[in-house]
């Protein structure tokens, strides 16, 4: 009984993979992985908290197709991301690129950590001095 359940569970989880392959057939496993990975990295601009893989919006379907065509043509991740961000801006990427305007975003946490250490260190010195 338990084994049957496990087998059924795996078959069900496989079903979704098979469906995805039918819609967007790709010649190699590597391209399939690239395609799936890109769809997770890219944001749907209509339902903004969904990625392109999840969204049912018609724009998301168009963008999926655009990504699919580029993956089939053998383009690299950065070429495809460049293509889309040139049209839709960095907002289409869930992970913002490191550039001058995002420095605070990327390095801010480190800055605050160092600031915290500095304050901690100074207070320690003060405490030892008072003793």
């Amino acid at each position: 009984m338990r084994y049957q359940f496990i087998v059924a569970f795996f078959l069900f989880s496989l079903a979704s993979f098979v469906q995805a392959n039918d819609l967007y057939p790709l010649p190699s496993k590597r391209q399939e992985a690239q395609f799936n990975h890109l769809l997770k990295e890219l944001r749907c601009l209509v339902c903004q908290n969904q990625d392109l893989a999840d969204s049912n919006a018609s724009l998301a379907a168009d963008l999926r197709l655009a990504v699919y065509e580029r993956v089939t043509a053998g383009e690299s991740d950065s070429e495809i991301i460049q293509y889309l961000s040139a049209r839709y801006g960095d907002f289409i990427l869930f992970k913002p690129p490191v550039k001058r305007v995002t420095w605070l975003l990327w390095y801010g946490p480190l800055l605050f950590l160092l600031l915290g250490f500095w304050i901690f260190w100074r207070t320690c010195i003060k405490v030892t001095k008072n003793e």
Binding site: Q48, D62, A86, Y88
Partner: protein, 177 residues
């Protein structure tokens, strides 16, 4: 010296509040266009009213005009149509891309709501829309006489938006050109 340090966390707090408070009032649905200052993508789309002809960006050159992304399934497009008819009456050159639509429904829609456009191209698969960075209809692009994009408005174009965002830019373009 010591007293001024006491205020530092307070000032930092106020700064953070202003920064985060401003974020609350930003519209996340409003995305800046990356196509500003760039030429229209090259396209050649069948004309909706006469499919033997093609609509190309060259047809828009020579005048400052608008390019509207529109569809018969888009309800907001109905809202702006009366204002577009008004702009057409004022002599503003209007062009359109019919976005992911059925030609028969689009033509029927134009019969109902009026056709202010000089030329309408059919973008059935939405490919040119991707090149333009379109993410929702209606969108309106301000195109100068050389075919460069100067402004993009997402959503219904009305008198307020026109006066606020388009009129000053058109005036400046006319002054420069």
């Amino acid at each position: 010296m010591k007293k001024t340090w006491v205020f530092v966390p307070f000032i930092l707090f106020i700064g953070l509040m202003v920064f985060l408070g401003r974020g609350l009032f930003l519209d996340p649905q409003h995305l800046p266009s990356t196509r500003i200052g760039k030429a229209l993508p090259s396209f050649s789309l069948p004309v909706l009213t006469n499919e033997n002809r093609v609509f190309t960006p060259d047809m828009m050159k020579g005048n400052i005009g608008l390019l509207t992304i529109w569809a018969s399934w888009c309800h907001a497009c109905e809202e702006e149509q009366a204002f577009l008819m008004q702009l057409h009456a004022q002599g503003i050159p209007l062009f359109a891309i019919n976005y992911k639509d059925k030609p028969s429904e689009a033509l029927q829609w134009l019969k109902t709501w009026g056709n202010p456009y000089q030329c309408i191209g059919e973008d059935k698969e939405g490919k040119i829309a991707i090149d333009l960075g379109v993410y929702g209809a209606p969108e309106t692009f301000l195109i100068d006489d050389k075919g460069l994009i100067h402004f993009r408005h997402v959503g219904v174009l009305d008198e307020n938006v026109w006066q606020r965002d388009f009129v000053p830019r058109i005036r400046q373009l006319r002054a420069n050109g």
